[in-house]
């Protein structure tokens, strides 16, 4: 009885979580492979077409444009976040009056839905009346014409994305920096290191693993980019600001071409797993070692 208990109990306990994951994420994610080899509308009444869907999307210039746009936006977003979060995290790594309030304000964008974030930044960059566009006009002589100019559209999409997700990167870096032992920094100072040298040789070395983890998570999450871009430009003008998420959404829910959407989806999955593979491999080895 007791033995039976020990054997089956953990499996019973983990089954609700694993059922949710398997039915709603894992199985659909695998089923995509089959769907991508078929032609179907609304994902039903499938006809096997082999690799035709891949031939279709790979010969579609808009697919490649979406891929390049995604690549550019993701890299700009991820590295700009890192460049902004690192000085902020360093600046927060001390006690001062009002620190709690400052920290609260810095993570506030985490609470904002993409829909409202788009409203906020549209307000600031509305053509001819938005405050930031007016400032740009008077100081730089041009406006961010995100409705008509694809490069400007992608710029505003990137700004929005950075704004929403900076709190995540900031929190990871801030936690990592606060665990750097003060003794080690002081020891370096005693030996005559400048603050810059202390940062480079002690702090940076200590937080490097956290920086890499933050980068990986942000790469994976940034590749999912959809709502900000869809709500701001719907991929326009002329589908020139589309990202992979929008390409997939259009294929599936506007053109009802579920085969092409599935092929795009599989490409997105492979991309995410590729980025995560090194981390997953390390984690797997460690879990094996822990038993």
């Amino acid at each position: 009885m007791m033995f039976e208990d020990r054997k089956w109990l953990p499996i019973i306990l983990i089954s609700p979580v694993n059922a949710l994951l398997a039915l709603l994420i894992a199985l659909p994610s695998v089923y995509i492979i089959w769907l991508s080899l078929n032609q179907s509308t609304f994902g039903s009444e499938t006809t096997f077409v082999g690799l035709a869907n891949y031939a279709q999307i790979f010969s579609d210039p808009i697919f490649w444009r979406s891929t390049i746009n995604t690549f550019i936006v993701v890299n700009v977003v991820v590295y700009t976040e890192l460049a902004l979060a690192l000085p902020l995290a360093l600046a927060l790594n001390t006690d001062f009056v009002g620190k709690g309030l400052v920290f609260s304000i810095l993570i506030a964008p985490y609470a904002v839905t993409e829909v409202s974030a788009v409203v906020m930044w549209r307000y600031l960059f509305e053509t001819d009346i938005g405050m930031f566009n007016m400032l740009l006009q008077s100081f730089a002589g041009f406006q961010l014409n995100w409705v008509r100019n694809p490069a400007h559209g992608l710029t505003l999409i990137s700004i929005l994305s950075i704004w929403i997700h900076l709190p995540f990167t900031l929190i990871i870096l801030y936690s990592a920096i606060s665990t750097v032992p003060v003794d080690m920094k002081n020891a370096a100072r005693v030996e005559g290191a400048t603050e810059w040298q202390v940062f480079r040789t002690v702090t940076m070395r200590f937080i490097m693993p956290a920086v890499l983890v933050a980068l990986m998570f942000r790469y994976i999450f940034a590749t999912r980019l959809f709502a900000e871009a869809w709500l701001l430009t719907e991929g326009g003008p002329a589908r020139l600001t589309e990202v992979l998420g929008i390409y997939l959404y259009r294929a599936a829910f506007r053109y009802h071409d579920f085969g092409a959407a599935a092929a795009t989806g599989l490409a997105m999955q492979m991309l995410s797993l590729l980025v995560a593979s090194f981390y997953l491999y390390q984690l797997y080895k460690r879990m094996q070692a822990d038993g």
Binding site: L13, L106, V112, V115
Partner: protein, 276 residues
């Protein structure tokens, strides 16, 4: 000039810019929701003005469905949170107290699944959800939102339960209580902080989510962000005030919540990022 002076000034500059960057867009939209349409795009911007509630009155008069959206969002957020909390507590307990090859494998499976992009699963799920009659229901969004956050929540709860001494449970075991009783009477009361840390993320996600709501709801179960996007799409000329009012109503409760539980957010993101 010595290092300490440079650092002091640098810190002040960096934090001021950071605070401005984070707060200004929120501040502008919330404050402008109390402005008349003439003041909203006034040049130079007005920071001192006579507040008006007209936009809020107009919002609920012209967009009564926004209220339904808020109610739907509330139901779905509570549902997804409760489902995440219960299932993750059970699983977190199992991963903390038992060890086997199968458990290690399934823990790895949980982390792997978290890396998959959510929008992709909508393609095969869409026909299945329609066939099961789950389209445009609260249930489908509750299930989906929970599914995408149970792995993080389980992991956070496991770390918290690891710190509850087994002796407490063993004492209860001697008294002849079942594992379910021990879970409810011993583990649950001691992992309240863990539950909060595990649930904050699904609360924020469910309240704000857009993509799943766009694809799986059409009428009855539409959430507040979706109606907000509709208001935004329908805005003509001078109606920005209504949009700002709607954005503020949707934002302020969740912003208050995030600021209230920010310590747990830091704990959760750190634990989730380090361990998956």
């Amino acid at each position: 000039m010595d290092d300490r002076y440079v650092i002091l000034v640098g810190r002040w500059v960096v934090l001021t810019l950071g605070v401005f960057w984070s707060a200004f867009p929120i501040f502008m939209v919330v404050s402008s929701s109390f402005k008349t349409h003439l003041d909203i795009f006034a040049v130079p911007p007005k920071f001192i003005f006579q507040p008006t509630f007209d936009n809020y009155v107009l919002l609920f008069r012209e967009w009564p469905q926004f209220l339904d959206g808020l109610v739907n969002s509330m139901i779905i957020t509570v549902g997804a949170t409760v489902l995440t909390a219960i299932t993750s507590l059970l699983a977190g307990y199992a991963y903390s107290r038992f060890h086997s090859r199968l458990l290690t494998l399934s823990a790895f499976f949980m982390i792997l699944v978290r890396m998959l992009p959510p929008i992709v699963v909508t393609i095969p799920l869409f026909p299945a959800v329609n066939a099961m009659g789950l389209s445009d229901t609260h249930a489908i969004l509750i299930l989906l939102y929970a599914a995408f956050f149970v792995s993080l929540a389980t992991w956070i709860l496991k770390t918290f339960i690891d710190q509850i001494p087994r002796e407490l449970e063993e004492a209860a075991e001697v008294e002849g209580s079942s594992v379910w009783q021990r879970l409810v009477r011993v583990v649950l009361p001691l992992s309240v902080h863990g539950m909060v840390a595990a649930c904050v993320f699904v609360v924020v996600f469910a309240w704000n989510e857009y993509v799943f709501a766009l694809i799986f709801t059409s009428n009855e179960a539409k959430t507040a962000p979706l109606i907000l996007a509709e208001i935004s799409g329908a805005i003509e000329g001078v109606q920005w005030g209504i949009l700002f009012a709607a954005a503020s109503v949707q934002l302020l409760p969740i912003l208050a919540f995030v600021l209230l539980v920010q310590k747990f957010i830091v704990t959760g993101i750190t634990a989730g990022a380090v361990k998956g």
